[in-house]
Amino acid sequence: MHLSPDEIIFWQSGFVKLNATIVYTWGLMAVLAVGSKLVTRKLSAGLQRTRWQNLLEIVVTGIDKQIAEVGMSQPEKYLGFLGTLFLFVAMASLFTIVPGYEPPTGSLSTTAALAICVFVAVPLFGIEDQGLGGYLGDYLKPTVIMLPFNIISELSRTLALAVRLFGNMMSGTMIIAILLTITPFIFPIAMSALGLLTGMVQAYIFSILATVYIAAATRVRKPKPAPAPEPEPAAKH
């Protein structure tokens, strides 16, 4: 019994190794990229379009709308990063219906990697938007005394992101594995369906939190900068 797909190692050479996390990640990447490529290869700008194109358009515009709803002035600019976050996490949980599949997001390494990406991206977008001074000045607000707390908040929320996603995804697979040993019929299916729902919710939470962080870093000039909402503990099951 292993907690993380990291533990399934196909090939190792010293520090470098190929575990299930990386392999499944590649698989997801391949599916996403090839699927997108296949659909977008012959896009139509007219009123007639394929159903796949319709689906992708719905997905993309939905993400775009969500970003805009948070308060971003230029959603397309952040669509690549935030959209990919959501799609990756959602697809990782969606593929749990495939037997023998281990979601890469069930590994703390993956979630940590995603959290680190967010951790790096937030200051980058902030600096790009309002300059280095402007961005760093945020840490001194409302007073200089708040600087350590701001730094701690920055770190802790990144950690929370990583751990929350990892916990949820890992727990899902763990529950199914445990239940399979107790009641091998029917009940695991229900739990699997619940796991799918959890996975979708987690994908949404993860990406929306990332959006909120970036928004907080970029829309300082707005008259009422919305305080970044702390990750709610309710998200954990």
Partner: protein, 422 residues
């Protein structure tokens, strides 16, 4: 440990690669497609708007044109209708004129026919009468008659008025040749001397006289001198009678024409008026038009023609007029009526004239008492009154002609009978 740092790094790289891939393969093309579509839709909408505006403009224009066309059409229609109306009026007028002209022409022709026939008959009658008279007188003339004629002549010479006497006296005086006394037969010596004496007495001078026989005088004596002529002869009487009859015929024609011009319209108007009065009296009931008209005609005619007995009643009955337009139909009727009436009237006048004329002028003939023998027409002496009076006026003209010939014949026979009587 749960975190494998190599995996973390690998996943970061994987994630960044995925970001790039999706950006390249998913977001950009999809967003581009959406943008393109939106642009296209916007463009199409704009096009549609533009087209709408254009369509509205065109529609307005079309409507305007339509209205214009409608106006033009109605104007054209009006003018055409007007034209048609005037054309119709014109054609109607033309037709009416043509009909009027035709009817007038026909009437004239009929009148001419009747007139010619009348004339021919009267001329013929005249000729016949004179021929008969001449023959009778010629047969009767003899020496004994000559004596009487000479007596009359001498008396005439004596009774001559001053003017003629003077004129003839002047002529006798200035004459280089002796006065010429012509007679139908050789005058006996006694008569010759009597005439000589009377002449001498009358002009209180010796008048040279030459006696001559001229059978064309039929009977009578004629004194001719230097252009002046004193005559008493049957031929002279006949000539003056002939002249008088010819004059009478002319007068008759004139009277006929005048009467025709005067009568009909006035009469019809009066009848129409009276008929309308009757119609009102009867409470404006329909269905009595013919009766009303008849009554009115009767009344009017009685008023007008009291002296003249002719009553054209049967004719009025023969034509029941439609109520709606009694006047229009009644119009031609009096014309046809009037003529025969007139003819009858003039006939009467004619008759009277000829009667009186014959009485006054045929005196000498009376004296000699000419016995007309073998006058062929006397046998067929028809009763003139019944034939002329109830003349069927409503009948066609040819019949009228016949009637007039009949009446003319009657007239002839009448005058003949008168002559005979005398």
């Amino acid at each position: 440990m749960l975190i494998d740092w190599f995996t973390v790094i690998a996943q970061v790289v994987n994630f960044l690669i995925l970001v790039w891939l999706l950006k390249h393969f998913l977001y950009r093309p999809i967003l581009d497609a959406i943008d393109a579509r939106e642009k296209r839709i916007a463009k199409e909408l704009a096009d549609a708007d533009a087209k709408k505006v254009e369509a509205r403009k065109e529609r307005d224009e079309f409507q305007h044109k339509n209205e214009e066309f409608e106006q033009q059409r109605s104007a054209l229609m009006n003018s055409v209708t007007e034209e048609a109306k005037t054309e119709r009026q014109r054609l109607l007028d033309e037709a009416r004129q043509a009909a009027d002209a035709l009817s007038a022409k026909r009437q004239e022709a009929l009148q001419n026919d009747a007139h010619n026939l009348n004339q021919a008959i009267s001329r013929r009658t005249q000729q016949e009468v004179f021929a008969i008279a001449r023959k009778a007188l010629t047969d009767l003339a003899a020496t004994s008659l000559e004596e009487r004629l000479a007596d009359v002549f001498t008396r005439r010479l004596r009774e001559m008025d001053e003017q003629t006497k003077n004129g003839i006296g002047q002529a006798l005086k200035t004459a280089s040749e002796p006065a010429l006394v012509r007679s139908a037969f050789d005058l006996p010596a006694a008569q010759r001397t009597a005439i000589q004496q009377v002449l001498n007495q009358a002009f209180s001078a010796e008048i040279p006289i030459r006696f001559e026989t001229a059978p064309e005088l039929i009977g009578g004596i004629e004194l001719t001198t230097n252009g002046q002529k004193l005559a008493w002869s049957i031929a002279g009487y006949l000539a003056s009678l002939e002249k008088g009859v010819a004059e009478l015929l002319k007068e008759k024609e004139k009277a006929e024409a005048q009467a025709q011009a005067k009568k009909p319209s006035e009469l019809t108007q009066r009848i129409g008026k009276r008929a309308y009065e009757l119609y009102e009296e009867h409470g404006r009931k329909t269905g009595h038009a013919a009766e009303d008209w008849e009554q009115a005609e009767h009344e009017i005619r009685e008023k007008i023609h009291k002296p003249v007995k002719t009553e054209p009643k049967p004719e009025a009955k023969a034509k029941p007029k439609p109520e709606a337009e009694p006047e229009a139909k009644a119009e031609p009727e009096p014309q046809t009526e009037a003529k025969p009436e007139n003819i009858v009237k003039t006939k009467h006048a004619d008759k009277a004239d000829s009667e009186s004329g014959a009485k006054t002028e045929a005196k000498p003939a009376n004296k000699v008492e000419p016995k007309p023998e073998g006058i062929p027409e006397a046998k067929a002496k028809p009763e003139p009154e019944p034939e002329t009076e109830p003349e069927p006026e409503a009948k066609a003209k040819p019949e009228n002609k016949v009637a007039s010939t009949l009446s003319a014949k009657a007239e002839l026979s009448e005058s003949e009978s008168e002559v005979k009587n005398q």
